[in-house]
Symmetry: C2
Subunit: 325 residues, 2 copies
Amino acid sequence: MNAPDPMRERLPQLGALRVFESAARHGSLTRAAEELHVTHGAVSKQIKNLEADLGEALFVRRNRGVFLTERGRALAARLRSIFGDLEDALSDFRTRGSEQPLVVSCEPTLCLKFLIPSLGAFQQATGIEVRVLAAGGRIDFRRDHVDLAIRRNDFPIDGALHARVICDEAMGPVCAPEALAGFEAETGRFPLPALHTRSRPDGWATWKRLNRPAIACTSDRTYEHFYLAIEAALAGQGVALASIHMVERDVAARRLCSLHGFWPDGTQYVALSAHPIEDDARASRFVDWLSARMNATLAAAMPSLGESRAAVAQPAKGRAIHGTR
Amino acid sequence: MNAPDPMRERLPQLGALRVFESAARHGSLTRAAEELHVTHGAVSKQIKNLEADLGEALFVRRNRGVFLTERGRALAARLRSIFGDLEDALSDFRTRGSEQPLVVSCEPTLCLKFLIPSLGAFQQATGIEVRVLAAGGRIDFRRDHVDLAIRRNDFPIDGALHARVICDEAMGPVCAPEALAGFEAETGRFPLPALHTRSRPDGWATWKRLNRPAIACTSDRTYEHFYLAIEAALAGQGVALASIHMVERDVAARRLCSLHGFWPDGTQYVALSAHPIEDDARASRFVDWLSARMNATLAAAMPSLGESRAAVAQPAKGRAIHGTR
DNA sequence: GGGATGCGTGAGGAAAACTCACCGGATGAA
DNA sequence: TTCATCCGGTGAGTTTTCCTCACGCATCCC
């Protein structure tokens, strides 16, 4: 009566949700009542309340039993998973159970070309279990249950996130050894297409902007995915502008040749998290390891990085990284 | 008094958990009380109850405020994520919000060599958002929030799971084109090591058991990861026994050569789910697409599969697949 | 038809949750 | 030092929620 909770903090009916989940699972109010050790009347009323609160029926009553609505089924499925998580969390707490694996989201190409092959050593050395979610672009940490995302800072980073720089990005044109024969280093003429990637449309433009040696290709070809562009380069179908971190192994194995070395493009790889990375020992350790690992790659591929860096690092300035350190 | 709930169904204190989460987030009982629109006394008692139930303090009281225990902090973090999920679920329900992405767990090599490159077309055609979790081996569907897992049925499949066969596995020895020169087809002599993978230790043994042409290598080399073995083969360091589904693109691009074609090894790829796959339209559609896609690869690579299949399919018999169809 | 099953509902009661008022320790400024 | 203030604990009492009980109704099966 007296304006109890105008902006009532959501989740009013925790108990009712729990009862509904049970009833949905059993497809029966009576059996839910048994599971919860209450009478069927209690279950009936809880669900009625919940439906009133949601303004929508979750069950269709048929006098001989209840049947989930389509939307009711969807809600029940999610609730089931969520209450399962809750049970797990409490059971882990009580038994001092093991930690959850660290979930890392990473751009797919980097993921397979670099992260996964070297992950085994990390897991073995630290005992930290890592799960890799191969996904790029925007990320919803909570929805996807991601602890850490590895991204390039080529976009403004949400101020609510916490970031830690891992290493510089360095790009360079690469092609298959057999395709290298047609390349005229002086004129820059190259008798094959330039390979583009939709996920990094400004790659070649940045290369040009940084006054790196021009490469005059016969045409352009665009791939949906970085991985496919690299594969096309491997197949000798053109020259791709690739990240050193992604083609490190291919170059080392001489499946790919670098035309003009690799150069920082002003962006960095950063680790993003919804919470301060320092607060999570495992995440912190992972980022440290990743940073050391990727910087080693950089150092090996670009011994001349020292002097070139200062001139190139400028464009990245002004990009707001809300760092925690 | 009269034995109310000896085996009380877990999660007794939903409200208390909610209160604790709020207090932990604010680091203050008083501010939690404000958020929940109750008095601080109510919050204090709820948390006291919860601690009694857990048999352990969650806060350290300091007369000037409360401070989370180490374990309390861990629990609060998980609760925060879980209640966040709950809010999302309810908010999605009320607003008829969009569906969650379909999370597919897949062995990393197959994931990058095959799945991710072709996934774009699927997402575009169906509008179904797919997230790929690169992980092999055993899987906990609920803990990892996985909807669908793609695996080979080379292990007994838990009866509680639902499975649908996708396609046959087919293996064959592959090496780099330049390494092929040293291969004597008649004697089977090969002047390089055989490349093994720890994740499929019985690969070459199965090849021999099925009476495929023997390959006499100089030595053996074992890699931790399938991806690395394929990479070694690409680098001309030996001959690997690879799945057609993983090296399809490499063979097509002539980066790898097949020595004796690809042959079914008696196992199949299966889609596993915690729930009947038919019940989830999106999962069902994804499996249909994947099945068509992978069988097309098989058909293209092994036009002679028809007659060879009958003789080889036997070993797989007896492996219990709890199929839903 | 008769019994069993499954659910809805109103009245009344038990239990949980909350409020209120007061307490004590710690902090910081006067 | 003193006093005002902040933060949380606690006991008594009250409110609210939730549950039980008992009954009604419709369906299904023998």
